[in-house]
Symmetry: C2
Subunit: 411 residues, 2 copies
């Protein structure tokens, strides 16, 4: 069912993914402090603080984990968990980094709002398909937009998705009509790989008219959902789903969006996570491009204007290539070669972030930002490459130099 | 011929406007130091430094000023000079401010390039039409773009020009086919006022197929040219002409431009002068919008994305309204009312710039920038409003508090 993860952990995470609606901060915090197994047990027993109890009261004794897992198995669905090998750690590390930075700023009185559920990673992900989520998220671009797309929007989306897929970029999007479907179809036509992030259970493709598209996506890629099998496409699940589209990609492109499109919500998540947000302009005479034009003008942090595959690659390429360049270092490290070379492939900012880490012990991302003189957002952007290069490890309390790398340096 | 300007000055400026090609720095500098009459006499006598001699050698004894002025009179063309009442002082003050700031930076070794001819005002302007240039430039917007415009480009241009004209904005552009013509036609259809800045002599409308358009522009506005009557539309005259389009407007909108359009040259002048540059996006599938998209992306100082009349007014409105609010103060001053109120209508930056002026004597714009803590570009932007409010005067050596205002404050 879940290769590499403990059976008790899988059962616990399956329970947790059903017992509360996605993106519940109290539940996430409870799991973070007690681990999934103890957290699931205490929730089931009702032995939890009020806020956790409130989020789980309705279902805590009604969840039938064995049934969920049996249904999943029958439909070829697996549970991807943080303790297993397929979990996209670095894709989700941005959540914790941003949440921790914001929490620090909130406590210091510099932010008036406590960070919310939009900033927490999922407790587990249900997945179906031949792809590996941790690999798919390394070099992925999200393409999103309106359901009621114009022929211009669908055309531009198809061109971008096709060209990016030809450059081995995984296309991430929802499963809706319009831009979502155009992006997946075109990437699949280019024999590329796509990830559909579903707001409903994977066994309930929504809209059902796109069932064939979901099946084709699974053949060459993945369909994932934060909600367990059987879950209906409730509205709030689309909003929490959107943060995952942004998190599972190196950047988000809005190809066509009206001024009230849900794609603008995904765009906001992208910016919040410190990932590059891109938008394709269109005729100012088309209401279908008004949302894109708003993103291109928003102050602060306007979207980057992109008009071609090359433009998008110029934006996300630096991220993807930075990662790609780091991968041989990991291999070298694993083969016992001198890991000091792992630092050579990194860009100057990543080097600077590395130099801001304490020689021993853990530091929060904002402490690293302070010590290195690099902004918190840049720190967060640099961490995936440092993790992939094997020189840094992240945990719930922050970042540290990986013990293996420290030993090798000292030796 | 030139109401309010001395006959000798008019003759001298007419001579100067013919003797060298537009935007000759040596000639402009010579006139600046010796005044137009002495400068013209010394050029005619050949009693000038080498660089001035080189710029004027070909024509210095061949110019027939009387003939030029006679032709001008026959065609209803007048000469607008800095010494006369129609000169748009504040529109052109940006040239001197920027040139002086850059010259100071160049001398301090912070810029490697000496400021060039793109930064000098004209020596005189030939004009025809019912409009008053100094008034037309107060609330004007330039609309420029490609000659070979698409129907989308012409449509967007027409919408913007019509709507702006309805808001009493004067439309400034060249006289070419495509975007230029669409902008003028639409402003005239809205019974608005337009200014055509011609690269050839006013009596030689170019392209000649637009002759009727030039005539209609003169009926409700102006046609102006830096080159004297009879001048042919040489290529370099378009490039020097473009700086005047940017200078004679509060901001420039590029509505549609291919990637090598001359409109991008006007856009560069706009940015150089510190005026807001705007661009209208279009379909990324249209090569005719590629220049606009480039402007929207350029780093530093990307163009502002505008999609409607309201967007443009939001950008230039603050300038126009700032000026409009100041006008009553001038009137009040002229009527002998307390001029201290002139400061009340100014925005905070203009107040700050005013506070950076020395109590007595003249300061360069960059000295004012240093003293006020406002950037040189902001100083330059604020000066027109301060001049119009009657509290500041500018001259060749810099800026000072107007003596009338100082007396009134002291009294």
């Amino acid at each position: 069912m879940t290769a590499g993860a403990d059976g008790a952990v899988t059962l616990a995470r399956a329970y947790l993914s059903r017992v509360a609606e996605p993106a519940s901060i109290p539940v996430w915090d409870w799991v973070r402090h007690h681990g999934p197994v103890a957290a699931a047990e205490s929730i089931q027993a009702g032995d939890v603080p009020t806020d956790v109890a409130r989020a789980t009261a309705a279902r805590r004794t009604a969840v039938r984990v064995d049934d969920d897992l049996a249904v999943a198995e029958r439909f070829g669905i697996r549970l991807v968990v943080p303790e297993g090998p397929e979990w996209p750690h670095f894709a989700f590390s941005a959540f914790e980094a941003v949440a921790r930075t914001r929490l620090a700023l909130y406590r210091a009185g510099e932010r008036t709002q406590r960070p919310g559920g939009e900033l927490i990673p999922p407790l587990a992900l249900w997945a179906r398909g031949s792809g590996d989520l941790s690999l798919a998220a390394v070099r992925a671009v999200a393409i999103v937009g309106s359901r009621s797309a114009s022929s211009y929007g669908e055309h531009v989306t198809a061109e971008l998705a096709f060209g990016l897929a030809r450059h081995d970029v995984v296309i991430v999007s929802g499963g809706a009509f319009g831009i979502d479907a155009a992006a997946h179809r075109s990437a699949l036509a280019a024999e590329g790989s796509t990830t559909i992030v579903s707001a409903s259970g994977i066994d309930r493709p929504y809209p059902s008219a796109n069932t064939k598209l979901f099946e084709r996506a699974e053949a060459g890629g993945l369909v994932v959902s934060e909600s367990p099998p059987g879950s209906a496409p409730h509205r709030h699940r689309f909003l929490t789903r959107n943060r995952l589209i942004a998190a599972l990609s190196a950047g988000t492109v809005v190809t066509e969006a009206a001024s009230r499109s849900g794609a603008l919500n995904t765009a906001a998540h992208c910016t919040r996570l410190g990932r590059p947000l891109m938008a394709v302009p269109g005729p100012v005479t088309s209401a279908m491009s008004a949302g894109c034009h708003r993103l291109l003008r928003q102050d602060p942090s306007p979207a980057l204007l992109v008009t071609s595959v090359e433009d998008v690659l110029a934006v996300v390429g630096s991220i993807g290539e930075g990662l790609a360049a780091s991968v041989p270092s990991i291999a070298a490290g694993r083969q016992g070669d001198d890991m000091r070379s792992a630092l050579d492939g990194l860009d100057p900012v990543a080097r600077q972030v590395f130099d801001g880490l304490p020689a021993r012990g853990v530091a929060s991302e904002d402490e690293v930002a302070l010590r290195s003189g690099v902004s918190p957002i840049e720190v967060m952007r640099a961490l995936p490459a440092l993790q992939l290069a094997g020189v840094v490890e992240t945990g719930p309390d922050g970042v540290r130099i990986s013990p293996a790398f420290r030993r090798r340096r000292a030796g």
